[in-house]
Every structure is written in C-alpha cells, then in structure tokens.
C-alpha cells in the first residue's frame, strides 16, 4: 500500500513520498492518542484504582523517566524527559509501522537526518551554554592543539553516524523484506513472520532504544 501526493506550487511539481505521508499518519495517530490519554488522566480520582490501559501508560512513562535519570542525572528529568519520551514514542511507531504494510518513515534518510540534527544542535547549544564561547572553542584543542582538525571531524561525524545507523538498519530490513516477498510469492505467509519478528520488532525496537540512548549520552555529556 502506497500513498503519494503530487503538489503543484508556483508551476513546479513536488512529489511528496510515501515515507513523509507516513510521518503525518504517525503524528496524527500519536496526537489523537495523547488527547485520549490526557482526557482519561484528568478524569482520574485519587481514591480509585486506575484502569489497565492507564497502568501500562504509567509504566511506560516511568520507564523512560528512569532511563533519563540513570543517563543524564536526577535534575534533568523534568527538562529532558518530555523530549526523550516523544523521540522514543515516535521512533517506536515509525519502526513498527512496517508490521501493518506501510513503509517505515525511518527508511527515508531525510527523517533520520532531521532527528540526528536536532540532537546535534542540542549538544552544541548546551556545550556553548555551559562552557562559554571561549571554553567551548578550547574544548576542541584538547589534549593538544595539533588534534583540533580531528576533534572537529569527530564532532561532525556524530550526527552522520547517528542518522546512518538508524537509516541503514531499517533500510536494509525493508530491502531484504521486499526481496523475500518477491522471491517466495505464494509462500510469503509461511516465510515472512519470523523475518518480520527480527527486522521489524527486534531491530526496530533496539534501534529506537539505541538512538534515544545515544541522544541522551551526547546531550548529557555537555550538561554540567
């Protein structure tokens, strides 16, 4: 199933690929989901036990908060918890959407590069804010001034490797699944489920965890 839009702006034709449309689908689904959870939480009474659905949501939120607390420290949970939570939820939905037959948005390099650039900007911003401009520039000349080019390249390589890792893993999964579906034909219902379990569920959940984890490590390294 593919959904594509062709947009005409000022006489130029733009094709909006299906991965971008899938991002919109995920955003709308998450938005409605958040509204439902918000309404249910607001209705909650203190002396009543919460429903199963709210219990699962609470466990998930607590898990992410604990992860942030372990990696970045206790006092950053309030400021960075929401962003990490959003990133993790979006990546989980984006990687698992392959299970219902849509193309994962993360198999498009523009999506992963955008997410990695957000991490890069946050990292540099907090590096500047916490060390001051001179201290930030001085950080590149350590341990000796001769290594400055290497340090700069190493800093730029972070978002590249971060985005390529997510993109490469999901993209190779999509490629292999497409090849398998074309090769086995009618036997696809027998052959595909274990491959889906590996490429979509295991690899997808692991890669979204690793992306969030590395984001936390990079940003946390520049926080005081």
């Amino acid at each position: 199933m593919t959904i594509e839009f062709v947009v005409n702006i000022f006489g130029k034709t733009f094709i909006i690929p299906e991965t971008i449309v899938n991002v919109w689908i995920i955003v709308i689904v998450l938005f409605i989901f958040a509204l439902i959870v918000n309404r249910k939480v607001k209705k909650l009474k203190v002396d009543e036990k919460p429903s199963n659905f709210l219990n699962v949501i609470e466990m998930y939120v607590e898990m992410i908060d604990n992860l942030v607390k372990d990696t970045m420290g206790e006092k950053h949970v309030k400021s960075f918890g929401p962003y990490i939570f959003t990133l993790m939820t979006f990546l989980l939905f984006a990687n698992l959407i392959g299970l219902i037959g849509l193309t994962p948005p993360t198999s498009d390099y523009s999506v992963t590069l955008t997410l990695a650039l957000i991490t890069f900007t946050l990292t540099q911003f907090f590096g500047l804010k916490n060390n001051g401009f001179v201290g930030y520039l001085k950080g590149f000349t350590e341990p000796i001034a001769l290594l400055t080019p290497l340090n700069v390249i190493g800093e730029i390589a972070n978002p590249v490797s971060l985005s390529f890792r997510l993109f490469g893993n999901i993209m190779s999964g999509v490629l292999i699944m497409t090849l398998v579906y074309n090769a086995v034909g009618f036997f696809a219902p027998l052959v595909a489920p274990p491959l889906h379990a590996y490429f979509d569920i295991f690899s997808g959940v692991l890669q979204s965890f690793i992306f969030t984890m590395l984001t936390m490590v990079f940003i946390g390294g520049n926080l005081d």
Partner: protein
C-alpha cells in the same frame, strides 16, 4: 570478449562488483560485536544481579561498533540504487 557489451552495462556490472566489495566491511563489526557479546556473557556470569545494566551497556557498545559496517552498507546501497557512476558517465556526453 568485451565487444558485445555496452559501456552502460559495463559500468552497471562494475558497480555491482563494487557494492559486493563494499560489504566486506561487514566482517569487522561481526567480529567486534561477537567479542562484546562474549565479554557481556562473561560479565553476567560473574555478576548475575547486574544483568540489566550489563545488557544495556553491551547493546549500546555494539551499536556504536556497528557504525563502520553500516557505512559499507550505505556505500553498497548507493552504488546499486542511486548509480552515481552511471550518471557521471552519461554527463560526460561521450
């Protein structure tokens, strides 16, 4: 022997060989990740109560070690599907 082959087909074939060669990069991460997994198993055997932390650190390290292999994979995918060499040849206008 090469007489019946067009230049475009020759470039496509060489791109496929290049993609295969680029995937040799997969050897390194395989060894590295296996090593990390082995050490992780050792650590869990020594300290079973710290299993959650050990597994998390191991997976993170393996993901970082995987980067070079992913670079090779990206090169292979670009050679196969984007075909920069063929575009460059066609732009020469020979």
């Amino acid at each position: 022997m090469l007489q019946g082959i067009t230049s475009e087909a020759f470039i496509l074939g060489c791109s496929a060989i290049g993609a295969g060669l680029a995937m040799i990069a997969g050897i390194g991460p395989g060894i590295g990740q296996g090593h990390a997994a082995g050490r992780g198993a050792e650590a869990v055997g020594r300290q079973p109560e710290a299993q959650a932390d050990i597994v998390r650190t191991m997976l993170l390290g393996q993901a970082v070690a995987e980067t070079t292999g992913i670079y090779g994979l990206i090169i292979a995918i670009i050679l196969l599907f984007v075909r920069p060499l063929l575009t460059a040849y066609l732009n020469l206008g020979l």
